[in-house]
């Protein structure tokens, strides 16, 4: 018997997915479905938009209005969808390279406009689809097929990037911290304005192998041991915070949403 969530929100005939064994992406995709379920959204009014890459294949499996666009451009297509029909709940799925390298300009401007899009970044710190090249989130000194001697780039913190650009909701979580992820997904989708959830995924096949991170289980354990909620971290002594990465909700504020502002202009002109 299939899981009721799967039956309700996934295109069962399109499964199994193309992701490698041990990939974290399926966990994140399921969390999006649970959030949509919890919020009771009308499936016909949900639109999921993606770019190109491993995570961008997710919409093909999800039973909504789904749009698989060109590399990096998901947010630009999604902006058109949302502005043309604001009643749609538009969710953008993008990998770290798709969102912050080739699509970086669209990310900062969608955030700046505070347009009502929810962006879920599946961040596995690598270009997986093309075989393991370093991305804008690959940590310095780690390896990729195009960084054989170690990456000398400084990585982006995508959550902070979105905050800096004007997003009104921003959170970070991992594929291990599923209950937290579910809560953050739900809050991000329910949020009016531009919201972003950066979900740290794992790529045992390329990132893990190239950087000797062990098995998928080892990589999951790394997520478990190295990431703590920033609110919990606040209460911890400095020695317990050392080497830890902070996750959780970092920003949740109310500001005018773009399509509503535009509708006000339309209403004003009617008078």
């Amino acid at each position: 018997m299939n899981h009721p969530l799967a039956e309700g929100f996934f295109r069962m005939e399109k499964l199994p997915h193309i992701w490698c064994p041990g990939c974290g992406h399926g966990i994140i995709m399921a969390s999006i479905a649970r959030a949509i379920d919890k919020l009771g959204l009308d499936k016909d009014k949900v639109c999921i938009v993606s770019g190109i890459g491993c995570s961008s294949r997710a919409p093909g499996y999800m039973d909504f209005n789904t749009l698989h666009t060109t590399h990096g451009r998901a947010l630009a297509f999604a902006t058109g969808v949302k502005l043309a029909n604001p009643e749609l709940e538009v969710i953008v799925i993008a990998g770290d390279g798709d969102l912050s390298a080739i699509g970086g300009n669209h990310l900062i401007h969608a955030a700046r406009r505070n347009i009502g899009l929810t962006t879920i970044c599946f961040n596995n710190n690598i270009y997986g689809m093309t075989g393991g090249q370093y991305s804008p989130t690959t940590p310095t000194s780690e390896k990729g097929t195009t960084a054989p001697y170690g990456n000398i780039d400084k990585p982006f913190d995508i959550t902070q990037l979105a905050i800096g650009a004007g997003a009104t909701y921003a959170a970070k979580t991992t594929a291990y911290h599923v209950p937290q992820m579910d809560k953050l997904m739900e809050a991000a989708i329910a949020h009016k304005g531009f919201s972003l959830v950066e979900a740290i995924s794992i790529c045992p096949t390329y990132y893990g192998r190239k950087n000797k991170k062990g098995s998928a289980v080892d990589m999951m354990n790394f997520l478990k041991d190295s990431f703590i909620d920033h609110k919990v971290a606040e209460k911890l002594p400095p020695e317990k915070k050392e080497g830890k990465f902070l996750i959780g909700e970092f920003l949740n504020k109310v500001e005018p949403e773009y399509t509503e502002q535009y509708d006000k202009i339309i209403a004003q002109l009617k008078k």
Binding site: R73, F77, G80, L83, A84, N85, N105
Partner: protein
């Protein structure tokens, strides 16, 4: 109802035509010499409940228009050379995913940043071949303000009818020139809207039925949950690696154009009935040709003009026929030889084919064209 008489630029007429055709969405990025199209759209669209958005770059300009079109909006973006280069990938996306969208390219002098305020016609081949991979292309070129109005409507109609991007290839001459134009009443305008599935129908997003080449298109949000991708896909819309399937899809996409040439191709002929010589020209440069022909005819030289209005698909049959009747064809265009290659290809040696062109940002004057013509003579 009385006709509205206006004194408009080509760029302004483009927006008037777009609105008449049902445009409800515009997204773009400022670029000379097309900016008036964005400015006027920004002013007019919210007045009719439509949407305008200035995007962060040219790529986003076309991306948002495609996104909007998927919700049922009639969408347009406008640009010029550098921006047209940037939009190419998503033009291919719209062709493969079969999303109606109108792309206006007000050509300027190129390459690169070139001559932003001066005319050029160097993007003709790019309009056909700019995006990678084989793909269908419809491209229209006006030579006057009124025709810019008419062809913008036609561009929307063809985009809707064939579910494909349509390029309106104007130039700085027609874009910025002002002419008197009579705006017809909406009731006189033929407007085509995409065919949508009926509620309750079983829907496969890319399935065509007997003899048809264009699938029905459901609006996102209307109850048909389907998938759109730039990957090769089957009739359900989902990605498929099957080479057999890819062949079927590609053949259908190309057939949308190839099987409908009579519907797509429009042109103007001036004094061709008894012509011994033919000038082929298009867009703003065709005006130069018309003036030159008048002078040459006054001198007793039997010369005519063939002006492709639809430049892609190219009016092959028409040019081939004319090439059997004339001694020479002179192709006049603001580039180093683009349409002339197409003319040579279809003329197949029936007559002598020459080129008259330049790309320094100046218009071709009738005197220059007459001089070039007499050299051919």
């Amino acid at each position: 109802m009385a006709k509205k008489v206006k004194f408009l630029q080509g760029n302004e007429a483009c927006v008037e035509g777009a609105l008449m055709a049902g445009m409800t969405f515009y997204s773009g990025y400022p670029i000379t010499p097309s900016t008036e199209i964005a400015e006027l759209s920004a002013e007019k669209l919210p007045r009719i409940g439509g949407k305008f958005i200035q995007m962060e770059d040219e790529i986003a300009g076309i991306a948002a228009a495609i996104g909007a079109s998927l919700t049922g909006a009639k969408a347009m973006t406008a640009t010029s050379g550098p921006g047209f280069s940037l939009k190419q990938e998503n033009i291919g996306y719209a062709a493969l995913a079969e999303v109606p969208v109108v792309i206006v390219n007000v050509q300027r002098g190129g390459p690169s940043t070139g001559l932003p305020t001066a005319p050029g016609q160097g993007d003709l081949m790019q309009a056909m071949w700019g995006t990678h991979g084989d793909h269908p292309v419809i491209c229209l070129t006006p030579d006057s303000v009124k025709e810019t109005f008419d062809l913008t409507i036609r561009a929307f109609n063809l985009a809707e009818k064939y579910r494909t991007p349509v390029i309106l290839l104007t130039d700085e001459i027609t874009g910025h020139m002002r002419e008197k134009i009579e705006i017809p009443d909406a009731s006189e305008i033929e407007v085509y809207n995409r065919i949508k599935p009926n509620q309750g129908d079983e829907y496969k997003a890319y399935k065509v039925y007997d003899g048809d080449l264009v699938p029905k298109m459901a609006d996102f949000g209307s109850g048909f949950r389907y998938h759109v991708t730039g990957l090769m896909h089957d009739e359900t819309g989902f990605p498929s690696n099957s080479t057999k399937n890819a062949g079927v899809l590609m053949n259908r996409l190309m057939a949308k154009i190839e099987d409908n040439l009579d519907d797509l191709i429009t042109y103007e002929e001036v004094e061709v009935a008894d012509a011994e010589y033919l000038i082929v020209s298009y867009g703003g440069t065709a005006r130069t040709a018309k003036a030159a022909i008048k002078t040459l005819r006054n001198e007793g030289i039997k010369v005519g003009l063939f002006r492709p209005i639809t430049v892609w698909p190219f009016p092959e049959k028409q040019v081939a026929e004319l090439s059997k009747k004339v001694k020479n064809i002179l192709v006049a265009e603001l580039n180093y030889g683009q349409m002339v290659r197409e003319v040579e290809r279809v003329v197949k040696g029936n007559c002598d084919v020459r080129h008259c062109g330049k790309a320094n940002g100046e218009v071709l004057t009738p005197e220059e064209l007459i001089r070039a013509f007499k050299e051919v003579l």
